[in-house]
C-alpha cells in the first residue's frame, strides 16, 4: 500500500533528533498552555508561530513543533476542568460536567488518567482518519477550478461561525473585516497600491501574524487587566490527585464510549465550522442519550469524562483534514496553523500532497509520535502540570505579553508592526466584549488575497461573465451548503449555544 510506504517515509523524517526534540517540547508547552486558564490552543499556537520563524526552522520542523502544541493544548485543557471546575480552554468545557464531580469524590487521579487515555484514543483514531480521508478529499479537490475555489472559500466563511453562533450578522461582519484587511497593500494582479493611504509600511500588506498575535494574545492580557485576575485559580492545598492509573474495570466500562465518541468527534472536526468544542459537546450529549440509564451523568460518571475528551481530541485531528487537503480550515486553531503554512510559503490544498509529500507525511508521523509522547507525559507526569496551575496570572500574563512582542519584533524588527499589534489587541478586546467572533477575522486576512485571485481568474477565463461562478454542479452544491450553513444557525444557534455555554467562561470569542 502506498499509504504505508509514504507513512514510513514520514517516520524517517519525523524521527530525526531535532524533530523528536521539537515534538517533545511542543507537547510540553502545549499541555501547559491548555492547562492554564486563559491560554487556549489558538493563543498558544499564535504566540509560538513568530518564534518558530525567527528561529529559522524549516517547514517540517516548525509544523511538527506547532501541531504538537495544538495536540498538547487539547490534552491539557482537561486538567483544570477536572481539578478546578474551570475549563483550561473552550473544548474542555464539557469535561467539567463529570470530571469535577469525580475529583470531589476523591477520584481526581482516576479522572485525569482516564481522560488522558480517552484523549489518546480520540487523537489516535483521528490521525488514522486523517490518513485515510485526506487523500480522498484531495482527489475531489483536483476537480476544483477557480470558481469552485471561490465558492469553497465562501462556504468556509459562511460556516465558520458554526452552529453555536447566535448572531450571524456579527460573524459576517468579522469575516468581511478580515477580508477588508487583506485587501490592504499592493494588488497582486495589477500592481496598484490599495487602501495604503500613502503609508509605505502598508505596501506589503498587513502581516497576518501581527493580526493573530494582537487579536488573540494581547486581547487576553487586556481581559485579565480588566478583571484584575491576578491570583492563581488553584489553591493547591486542596488538590489531591491520588492514584494515577484508572482501574481496568473503569477502562473496560468506558471503551465503547471512547470509540463512539472518537467517531462523532472526528466527523464534527472534518465538517467545516464545527471545531473541537462542538465535537466534545456532541460526543457528550450522544453518550448521555445512549448509555446514561441510571442518570449518573453529571455526578461523576467516568463515561462522562471519557466521552468529551475522546470527542474533542478526535475533532482536533479531524479539523486538520480540510485544512491540509483543501486549504480551508475547519476551526479557529487550524486557521492559525494555516497561517503557519502560508508564512512558510507552502500552499495547502491538493497540490501539497504531490509537491511536498515530505511535509504532509512528516507531519502525520509527528502527530503519532506526539500522541505517544502526550500519553506518557499526561499519565505519570500529570502531577507536574497540576503544580503549574499555581503560577499566578500576574506573573504569567506579563510573560505572555512580552513573548508576543519578542516574536513580532523578531520577524520584522520594526516598531511599526509592534504598534499595529497593540492596535489589534485593543480591537480584539472591544470585539470580544461585543461578542464578535475573532476567528473569521483571522481567516479573512489569511484567505482574502487567494479568494480574490480565484474570483478574478474565474471571471477573466469566462470573458467577464459572472454567471461562471455558479456554472458547474460542484460550485452550485458548494454555494447551497454555504447558504444553508449560514442560515441554519439563525434558527438552531440559540438552542445549541445556550446548552453548550451553560458554563461558559471569558474565552468565548477565541473559541475553538
Amino acid at each position: 500500500m502506498d499509504i504505508f510506504s509514504s507513512l514510513g517515509d514520514g517516520f524517517l523524517i519525523a524521527l530525526s533528533w531535532q524533530n523528536l526534540a521539537l515534538a517533545v517540547l511542543g507537547c510540553f508547552l502545549g499541555t501547559i498552555m491548555g492547562a492554564l486558564p486563559g491560554l487556549g490552543p489558538s493563543n498558544g499556537v499564535a504566540i509560538l508561530i513568530p518564534l518558530a520563524f525567527s528561529l529559522g526552522l524549516g517547514p517540517t520542523p516548525s509544523l511538527i513543533l506547532l501541531t504538537s502544541v495544538y495536540y498538547g493544548a487539547m490534552y491539557g485543557g482537561r486538567i483544570s476542568s477536572i481539578l478546578l471546575n474551570i475549563p483550561g480552554d473552550e473544548p474542555a468545557m464539557m469535561t467539567c460536567l463529570d470530571g469535577y464531580p469525580m475529583a470531589r469524590k476523591g477520584l481526581a487521579g482516576e479522572a485525569l488518567s482516564l481522560s488522558g487515555v480517552a484523549s489518546f484514543v480520540g487523537a489516535f483514531f483521528a490521525t488514522w482518519g486523517l490518513i485515510l480521508l485526506a487523500p480522498q478529499l484531495v482527489k475531489l479537490a483536483l476537480l476544483f477550478g477557480p470558481a469552485e475555489y471561490f465558492a469553497l472559500f465562501a462556504l468556509a466563511f459562511a460556516t465558520l461561525g458554526g452552529v453555536s453562533s447566535t448572531n450571524q450578522a456579527k460573524s459576517a461582519f468579522a469575516a468581511m473585516l478580515g477580508l477588508g484587511l487583506a485587501m490592504i497593500g499592493v494588488d497582486t494582479q495589477t500592481g496598484v497600491p490599495r487602501m495604503t493611504f500613502g503609508e509605505v509600511h502598508l505596501y506589503d500588506g498587513i502581516d497576518f501574524l501581527v493580526a493573530i498575535v494582537g487579536l488573540f494574545a494581547l486581547s487576553e492580557v487586556f481581559i485579565f487587566l480588566e478583571k484584575r485576575h491576578g491570583e492563581a485559580a488553584a489553591d493547591t492545598s486542596k488538590i489531591k490527585v491520588g492514584r494515577l492509573m484508572p482501574p481496568m474495570s473503569m477502562l473496560k466500562q468506558t471503551t465503547p464510549t471512547m470509540l463512539r465518541s472518537s467517531f462523532v468527534g472526528f466527523v464534527a472536526g472534518v465538517l467545516p465550522g464545527a471545531g473541537a468544542s462542538l465535537g466534545s459537546f456532541l460526543a457528550y450529549s450522544l453518550e448521555k442519550k445512549m448509555v446514561d440509564r441510571n442518570g449518573t451523568f453529571g455526578t461523576g460518571d467516568p463515561r462522562g469524562v471519557a466521552a468529551p475528551e475522546a470527542g474533542n481530541n478526535a475533532a482536533a485531528g479531524g479539523a486538520l483534514v480540510p485544512m491540509l487537503a483543501l486549504g480551508v480550515p475547519g476551526s479557529g486553531t487550524t486557521a492559525v496553523l494555516l497561517a503557519v503554512l502560508l508564512s512558510l510559503n507552502i500552499t495547502p490544498g491538493p497540490l501539497l500532497f504531490s509537491q511536498n509529500p515530505d511535509v504532509v507525511w512528516g507531519l502525520i508521523a509527528a502527530l503519532f509520535i506526539a500522541n505517544f509522547v502526550l500519553l506518557a507525559m499526561n499519565i505519570p507526569m500529570v502531577g507536574m502540570f497540576t503544580r503549574l496551575l499555581m503560577v499566578p496570572p500576574r506573573v504569567l500574563m506579563p510573560f505572555v505579553a512580552m513573548v508576543s512582542f519578542v516574536g513580532i519584533y523578531g520577524i520584522s524588527g520594526s516598531s511599526f508592526d509592534l504598534l499595529l499589534m497593540i492596535g489589534f489587541g485593543i480591537l480584539g478586546w472591544v470585539l470580544r466584549k461585543l461578542d464578535v467572533p475573532l476567528v473569521p477575522i483571522i481567516l479573512g486576512t489569511l484567505l482574502g488575497n487567494t479568494m480574490e485571485n480565484n474570483l478574478r481568474r474565474a471571471v477573466t477565463i469566462s470573458n467577464g461573465d459572472w454567471w461562471t461562478l455558479v456554472g458547474s454542479p460542484l460550485s452550485i452544491t458548494l454555494w447551497t451548503v454555504a447558504i444553508v450553513g449560514f442560515i441554519l444557525p439563525i434558527f438552531l444557534g440559540r438552542v445549541v449555544k445556550s446548552r453548550m455555554h451553560a458554563r461558559r467562561d471569558v474565552e468565548g470569542s477565541t473559541s475553538d
Binding site: L51, S54, L55, T166, N167, A169, K170, A172, F173, M176, L179, G180, M183, Q189, T190, G191, V192, P193, R194, M195, F197, L218, V221, F222, F224, L225, E226, K227, R228, G230, E231, R394, V395, M397, P398, F399, A401, M402, V403, F405, V406, Y409, G410, G413, S415, L418, L419, I422, I426, W429, K433, L434, D435, E452, L455, R456, V459, T460, N463, G464
Partner: protein, 143 residues
C-alpha cells in the same frame, strides 16, 4: 445601545471603505474584474451586516467601570512606549520595565513586580537570544 453604536461605526467604516476603494488608481493593464470590485463587494456585505446589527442589537454586554477602562488605556500607553523606546533602551531594560508594570497592575506588590519584571526579561533574553540566537533590540549597553 452598544450594538447600535457598533453598527453605526461599522456602517461608517463600510462607507469609508467604498470611498477608499473608488480612490484606487486603475492601471491601464487591468484584468476584466479590476482591483476595485472585490473591495466594493466586501464593503457592501460589511455595511449590510452592520445595518442588521444596528437594527437588531444583542443584549447589552457587561462593560467594565471607567476605572478598569482607564487601567487598560494605561497598559496600552505603556505598551506603545515600549514599542517606541525598545531600540533606544535595549531589550533587557525595556522589557523589564514593561513586564514589571503589567505585573504590578495585575496585583503584585511592588517588590514582587520588580522581581517578575527582571525575571521575565532575563528569562526571555537567556532563552531566545543566548540559546536560540534570535536578534533582539540592542541598547546602548549592548543588551
Amino acid at each position: 445601545m452598544s450594538d447600535r453604536i457598533f453598527g453605526a461605526v461599522g456602517l461608517a467604516l463600510a462607507l469609508f471603505y467604498v470611498w477608499a476603494a473608488l480612490q484606487i488608481q486603475e492601471s491601464f493593464l487591468s484584468d476584466t474584474v479590476g482591483p476595485k470590485t472585490f473591495p466594493i463587494i466586501i464593503a457592501s456585505i460589511l455595511g449590510l451586516s452592520s445595518l442588521i446589527i444596528l437594527l437588531r442589537p444583542d443584549p447589552e454586554p457587561v462593560w467594565p467601570p471607567l476605572s478598569r477602562v482607564a487601567e487598560i488605556a494605561a497598559a496600552v500607553v505603556v505598551m506603545v512606549l515600549y514599542a517606541e523606546f525598545l531600540s533606544t533602551l535595549g531589550f533587557v531594560i525595556a522589557t523589564a520595565l514593561a513586564a514589571a508594570y503589567l505585573s504590578w497592575r495585575l496585583g503584585s506588590t511592588v517588590v514582587q513586580a520588580v522581581i517578575t519584571g527582571v525575571g521575565v526579561s532575563l528569562c526571555i533574553y537567556a532563552v531566545f537570544h543566548l540559546l536560540f540566537g534570535l536578534s533582539l533590540a540592542r541598547g546602548p549597553l549592548g543588551f
